[in-house]
C-alpha cells in the first residue's frame, strides 16, 4: 500500500460513516450551554461593587492606556470566587464547563488550562512519567516535554523523526521506531507522540497506540496544533479518536480561545484520573484568568455546534490559496506529497508552509517583506520558509491579500545581493544524538561549568541545543557530546544559522555537567 493510499483511507470525507467525533453531541442541546461564559455575563449584568481581586476593580483603577488597550475586558476580569458563583461551590461552573468539553471530545475527563499547552505537557509528563520511570518520546517534541521531564525526573528514550531536507523541517516518527523502542524498553510506562507537527503533518497514531497498549504503556499526544480536528470530518483524525489515552491541545492556536487557552482530554482506562486532576490543580494558577476560561467554554460550544461548516470553509479558503500559489513561478507550498513519508499519515491543509527559496528568499526575509510592505503577519519563519494559519476567521479578502502580496514579491524575480536561503542548509545532516548518561533532571540541576565549544567532546551537556532548521535538538541535558556533534555545530555556526536553547546562543561555549544532582 502506498503512503498516499494510507492517507486517503485515514481521511474521512464529509458524510463518511465511522468515528466522526463531535457529531454525536452536535444535536445535544446541552452543548449549547456555556456555564463559565454565562457566569461572566451574569456578573456584569448584576453590576456588583467589587471588593475583590483584581486591584483595578473592573478597570476603574487601571492606567488609562491599559483601559484603552483592553476596553470592556477589564470589566469582567474576575476571580472564580464570590460574585462569579457561590463560594461553597466555587468549582461549579468550571466543573460543568469541563464536563461539557469532555463530552465534546468524547473523553472521560477534560481540564481547562490557562498556562498554555506547555503547562498541559508538564502535567501529562508528571502524571504519566513519575520520578524514576522510563518514557518513550519523539526527539522533536516541544521543549515543554523536556521541561516536564526535568520537573519529573523520568528517563526519556528518544526517537528520531524523519526530516524533509527540502523544507528543512522535522516530520513525525515512523510507527516502526515506536514498536522497536517498546520491544527494547518493555518497562516504559508512557509513550508521547507529537501530532500534528508544526507544519500540519499528522502521525500514524493507531499503530503506535496498539504497540503501546500491548506492553501496558499509555499514550499521550501533544496535539497543540489540532484543537479543530475533532470537529470537522474533512480534517485529519483526532488523537483520542485513534485510541490515545490523553491529549493536550491549544484552544488558542487555531480555534477561538484567547492566548494561553488550552485543554487536556483524557480517558480513564489506563490513566489514574484522580492523580491527573491533582496535578492539574497544582500546576494551574490559583488565580486563573477567567477570560481565558470563558474563551475555552465558548469555543467548545462554537466547535460542537458549527465546527463542521466553519472548518469546511477554512479548508476551501486554504485550498484556493494553495491552488493560486502553486501557479506562481518560484513559490512552493507544502502539500499532500508529504504523506509519501512513512511517518506522515495525513496533512492538515489549513496550515500553509510556503517557500520562495528558489528565488533566493530566506523565510526570515520573506516574513519581513510581508510584514513591513504588505502589513501581513505570518505565524513563523525560518531560513527556508514561512508558516501561515488559515482558519474560519479568514475571508476571501484576507486570502486574496496574502496571495496578491506573495505574487507581487515573486514577480520581482530572483533576489540578488543577499545569500537568501543558503541552499546548502537544506542538505544538513543531523549528527546522531547520543545516549543519556543521566536523567535530564540530574543534568539540569547539576553543578555546571562553561566550556568552549571545541573542547566539549566527551563532556555531558547541561542544556538543550536545537538548530533551526530543522528544529530537532542535537543536544539535551544529560547527553554526552560527541566529536560529530561539535563538528556539526561548528559548521552550523559558520553558516550563520540559529540555535535555540543554550545560554550562549552564539555557541562559543556550552554549559556542561561538572557534578550531577544527587538525591539526598
Amino acid at each position: 500500500m502506498s503512503a498516499s493510499q494510507t492517507s486517503d483511507s485515514g481521511r474521512r470525507g464529509p458524510g463518511t460513516p465511522g468515528r466522526s467525533g463531535g457529531t454525536a453531541d452536535r444535536g445535544d442541546p446541552r452543548q449549547r450551554r456555556t456555564p463559565v461564559l454565562d457566569g461572566l455575563l451574569q456578573y456584569r449584568e448584576r453590576d456588583y461593587v467589587s471588593f475583590h481581586m483584581p486591584g483595578h476593580k473592573r478597570g476603574r483603577g487601571a492606567p488609562p492606556r491599559l483601559r484603552e488597550a483592553l476596553g470592556a475586558a477589564l470589566d469582567v476580569d474576575l476571580p472564580l470566587t464570590p460574585g462569579f458563583e457561590d463560594t461553597r461551590q466555587r468549582a461549579g461552573r468550571l466543573a460543568a464547563a469541563e464536563e461539557l468539553a469532555a463530552r465534546a471530545w468524547d473523553a472521560d475527563r477534560a481540564f481547562f488550562l490557562t498556562n498554555g499547552s506547555s503547562g498541559g505537557l508538564h502535567t501529562l509528563v508528571l502524571a504519566l512519567a513519575p520520578p524514576g520511570s522510563v518514557v518513550v518520546a519523539p526527539r522533536n517534541a516541544h521543549v515543554a516535554l523536556t521541561d516536564g521531564l526535568i520537573l519529573s525526573g523520568a528517563m526519556p528514550v528518544y526517537l528520531e523523526p524523519e526530516i524533509d531536507g527540502e523544507w528543512g523541517v522535522a516530520l513525525n516518527v515512523p510507527p516502526q521506531r515506536f514498536q522497536d523502542a517498546l520491544v527494547e524498553h518493555p518497562e516504559a510506562r508512557a509513550v508521547f507522540v507529537s501530532s500534528p507537527s508544526y507544519n500540519g503533518c499528522c502521525a500514524h497514531i493507531e499503530p503506535i497506540v496498539a504497540a503501546a497498549h500491548a506492553t501496558g504503556a499509555a499514550v499521550a499526544v501533544d496535539q497543540a496544533w489540532g484543537a479543530h480536528l475533532h470537529f470537522c470530518s474533512a480534517l485529519p483524525a483526532d488523537a483520542l479518536q485513534q485510541g490515545a489515552d490523553a491529549m493536550v491541545t491549544s484552544v488558542h492556536k487555531l480555534t477561538g480561545g484567547v492566548s494561553q487557552a488550552s485543554l487536556i482530554a483524557a480517558q480513564g482506562a489506563r490513566l489514574d484520573l484522580a492523580r491527573l486532576a491533582a496535578l492539574v490543580a497544582m500546576l494551574r494558577s490559583t488565580s486563573m484568568l477567567v477570560q481565558i476560561l470563558a474563551s475555552i467554554d465558548a469555543t467548545r460550544m462554537q466547535m460542537v455546534t458549527e465546527g463542521e461548516g466553519l472548518w469546511l470553509r477554512a479548508l476551501e479558503l486554504a485550498a484556493s490559496a494553495r491552488a493560486r500559489l502553486d501557479r506562481v513561478p518560484g513559490l512552493r507550498c507544502m502539500g499532500t506529497e508529504v504523506t509519501g513519508y512513512r511517518s506522515v499519515a495525513d496533512l492538515d491543509l489549513t496550515r500553509l508552509t510556503v517557500s520562495a527559496a528558489d528565488l533566493g528568499w530566506a523565510g526570515y526575509d520573506l516574513e519581513w517583506e510581508l510584514r513591513e510592505r504588505h502589513r501581513i503577519a505570518v505565524e513563523s519563519a525560518d531560513a527556508i520558509g514561512i508558516v501561515m494559519n488559515v482558519t474560519y476567521a479568514d475571508t476571501p479578502e484576507t486570502i486574496d491579500r496574502l496571495v496578491t502580496a506573495l505574487t507581487a514579491i515573486a514577480a520581482e524575480g530572483p533576489r540578488s545581493g543577499t545569500t537568501g536561503a543558503d541552499r546548502a542548509t537544506q542538505r544538513l545532516t543531523l549528527p546522531p544524538f547520543s545516549r543519556l548518561t543521566m536523567t535530564p533532571r540530574a543534568a539540569f540541576f547539576a553543578t555546571t561549568r562553561t566550556v568552549p565549544l571545541r573542547s566539549c567532546v566527551g563532556e555531558v551537556s547541561a542544556e538543550v541545543v536545537t538548530p533551526y532548521p530543522p528544529g530537532v535538538p542535537v543536544l539535551g541535558p544529560g547527553e554526552k557530546i560527541s566529536g560529530e556533534i561539535v563538528a556539526f555545530l561548528e559548521d552550523f555556526k559558520r553558516r550563520g544559522l540559529r540555535v535555540h536553547g543554550p545560554h550562549d546562543p552564539a555557541l562559543d561555549t556550552i554549559r556542561v555537567v561538572e557534578r550531577p544532582l544527587e538525591d539526598g
Binding site: L41, V76, M288, T391
Partner: protein, 490 residues
C-alpha cells in the same frame, strides 16, 4: 534612577501592532476577534481580542528578539528594588514553585511556614525537597493564622540548620506582616537565602504609609501578584531576586519552565502598565485607598453586631505590621457565618467580596475604589445589621473554638514527592490512624493544612477530621471532600 518609570515598552508595542492594522495569519485562531464566538465577543469585547497576540512574530520581531520583555522587566526590577525581575503569566503560583524547585533538590530541607499558599506544596512535590514546618499561632479571636514570630523562626533554624532556604508568607491573607528585617537577619546568619511570598503586597513599595516591602527588608527573592491589589490582569505576577545567595541562571531556567511558551501579551502589557502606574503615582493612589479603608473600618466598628479587624492586632505576637486596606469583617455576634454575610451582601446589596469562610469575610480596598463604593458598603452593612440584629444566637463562637483546636503536626515520614507518587488507596477515615497521608487536607478556617502528603496520621487528626466532616467544615485538597475517606500511601 536609570530608567524612566513613565515608559511602558511592552504596552506600547502591543498598541503599535494593533494600530498598524495587520492581516493576521498567526495564532490565535480567532484572528483579532473576527472568528471569535459571539458570546465571547459580547463578554470580553473586541478591544481585548484585537490585541490578543502571540508574543513572537507579532509584537516582537521574529528575526531577533528585540528584547521587549527584557526591557520591561528591567524597568520593573528597578521599581521593585531588585536586581532581576521576571514577569509571570501563570500567577504567583508559578513563582513560588520556581523558587522551591530552583533552591532545593530531592531530599534537601527547606524551612516553610505551615500556612504557606498551596503552591508551596506543589513546589515541594516537584522538587522532592523535605519541608521543616514552622507552625504559626492561630489568633483565637479571629480564627486566622498570625505571622511567624522571630522566636519561632530562630527555633526552626536551630532544629533545621542545614535548610537550603527560609520561606515566609508576608503579608498573610488578612494583612499580617512578619518582622521581615529580623527574619532576614536570622536566615542570613545561618547562611540561608530568605524568600518572601509577598503575593498580597505588590503595593507596599510604592506608598510610605504601607508596611515595608520584602526586598527593602533584605529578602533575596520575593513573589508578588500584580493582579491582586494593583492593576494587572488576573494571573499576572512578578518574581524579584538578587544574586548573591541565589543562582539567578538556574532560577531563570526554572521560571522559563513554569511559563507558557505562548505567553499572553496582554498579561505582560498589564504588568508593564501597572508598574508604571505604581512607580509614578503609587504614593497618592494608596494614600487615598488607605483613607477610604480607614473610613470603612471605623464605620463598620460602629455597627452593633459587626467587627472589623484593625491595627489593635499589632500588639499580638507574630504580627509586626498590618495592611489596613484589607478588611476582615465578622458578623458572628449576629449569629451569621461569613458565608451567610457574603451571600446577603451579594444577593441583597450587589456587593462582591474577596473571600468568605465560616467566620469572616475579607474585602480589598484599592486605588480602584472611590468614596461611593465605601459609602455603599457601609450603608449595606448598617441595613443588614439592623435587619438581622433580632436574629441573635452566637453560633460563631462554636466555629471559633473549633478552628482554634487544630491538631498537632505529627512528622514527615516520606517526602511530599515520594508520598504523592506512591501507590495510594482511599481508606475509611476511622482506619487511617498510623497510616501515611497521600493527600493534603486544609480546613477553612484557619486555612492551615491538617495533613500533607507523606505525613503520619495520628488519632488526634482522625478525631479532628471526623468532627470536621460531621460539622460540614469546608476543606480544600482531599479527593473526598466529605472526609469519609482519606487517600493513604500503600
Amino acid at each position: 534612577m536609570t530608567n524612566d518609570q513613565r515608559e511602558t515598552p511592552y504596552l506600547d508595542a502591543l498598541l503599535r501592532y494593533r494600530d498598524r492594522g495587520f492581516t493576521a495569519f498567526h495564532t490565535p485562531g480567532h484572528k483579532l476577534g473576527k472568528g471569535a464566538p459571539a458570546g465571547l465577543v459580547e463578554a470580553v469585547g473586541l478591544d481585548l481580542l484585537k490585541v490578543d497576540l502571540a508574543v513572537a512574530g507579532a509584537v516582537e520581531d521574529t528575526r531577533e528578539s528585540t528584547g521587549l520583555v527584557a526591557a520591561a522587566e528591567r524597568i520593573a526590577a528597578e521599581a521593585w528594588g531588585a536586581e532581576r525581575c521576571f514577569f509571570l503569566v501563570n500567577g504567583s503560583t508559578s513563582g513560588v514553585q520556581s523558587l522551591v524547585v530552583s533552591l532545593a533538590g530531592p531530599g534537601l530541607p527547606i524551612i516553610v511556614p505551615r500556612n504557606s499558599h498551596k503552591s508551596m506544596l506543589a513546589g515541594l512535590i516537584f522538587s522532592g525537597a523535605m519541608p521543616c514546618y514552622i507552625e504559626p499561632v492561630i489568633d483565637p479571636e479571629w480564627g486566622v493564622p498570625r505571622n511567624i514570630s522571630a522566636e519561632a523562626a530562630a527555633e526552626a533554624i536551630a532544629t533545621c540548620g542545614d535548610a537550603r532556604a527560609f520561606f515566609v508568607t508576608s503579608p498573610t491573607y488578612n494583612g499580617f506582616g512578619a518582622d521581615l528585617p529580623a527574619l532576614a537577619g536570622l536566615a542570613h546568619g545561618a547562611g540561608m537565602p530568605f524568600i518572601v511570598d509577598q503575593a498580597w503586597g505588590p503595593h507596599f513599595r510604592f506608598c510610605s504609609l504601607l508596611p515595608v516591602d520584602a526586598m527593602t527588608a533584605g529578602a533575596d527573592a520575593a513573589v508578588t501578584s500584580v493582579h491582586k491589589l494593583i492593576s494587572g490582569l488576573t494571573q499576572s505576577s512578578v518574581l524579584m531576586a538578587n544574586a548573591g545567595r541565589i543562582n539567578l541562571r538556574r532560577l531563570a531556567g526554572v521560571v522559563k519552565m513554569t511559563q507558557s511558551t505562548s505567553p499572553q501579551a496582554l498579561i505582560y502589557a498589564s504588568i508593564d502598565a501597572a508598574r508604571m502606574q505604581m512607580a509614578t503615582d503609587g504614593e497618592r493612589l494608596w494614600t487615598r485607598a488607605l483613607e477610604l479603608a480607614e473610613r470603612a473600618r471605623a464605620a463598620v466598628n460602629r455597627i452593633d453586631g459587626l467587627r472589623c479587624l484593625g491595627d489593635e492586632c499589632l500588639e499580638r505576637p507574630g504580627i509586626v505590621s498590618f495592611d489596613p486596606t484589607r478588611l476582615t469583617i465578622t458578623a458572628c455576634a449576629l449569629g451569621h457565618t461569613g458565608w451567610q454575610l457574603e451571600t446577603v451582601l451579594r444577593d441583597d446589596y450587589g456587593i462582591a467580596v474577596e473571600a468568605a469562610d465560616t467566620l469572616n469575610i475579607v474585602l480589598n480596598v484599592t486605588h480602584g475604589d472611590d468614596k461611593d463604593d465605601i459609602e455603599r458598603l457601609v450603608a449595606s452593612l448598617e441595613d443588614y445589621a439592623a435587619r438581622h440584629r433580632a436574629a441573635g444566637g452566637d453560633v460563631g463562637a462554636g466555629c471559633r473554638r473549633f478552628a482554634a483546636r487544630l491538631p498537632a503536626f505529627t512528622r514527615q515520614e516520606l517526602s511530599p514527592q515520594d508520598a504523592f507518587f506512591s501507590a495510594s488507596v482511599p481508606l475509611p477515615l476511622a482506619q487511617c490512624d498510623g497510616r501515611i497521608s497521600a493527600e493534603i487536607v486544609t480546613p477553612y478556617p484557619p486555612g492551615i493544612p491538617v495533613l500533607g502528603p507523606g505525613e503520619l496520621i495520628s488519632p488526634e487528626i482522625v478525631d479532628y477530621l471526623t468532627e470536621a466532616g460531621d460539622r460540614g467544615l469546608h476543606v480544600h485538597g482531599p479527593e473526598d471532600l466529605t472526609l469519609r475517606t482519606l487517600r493513604v500511601v500503600e
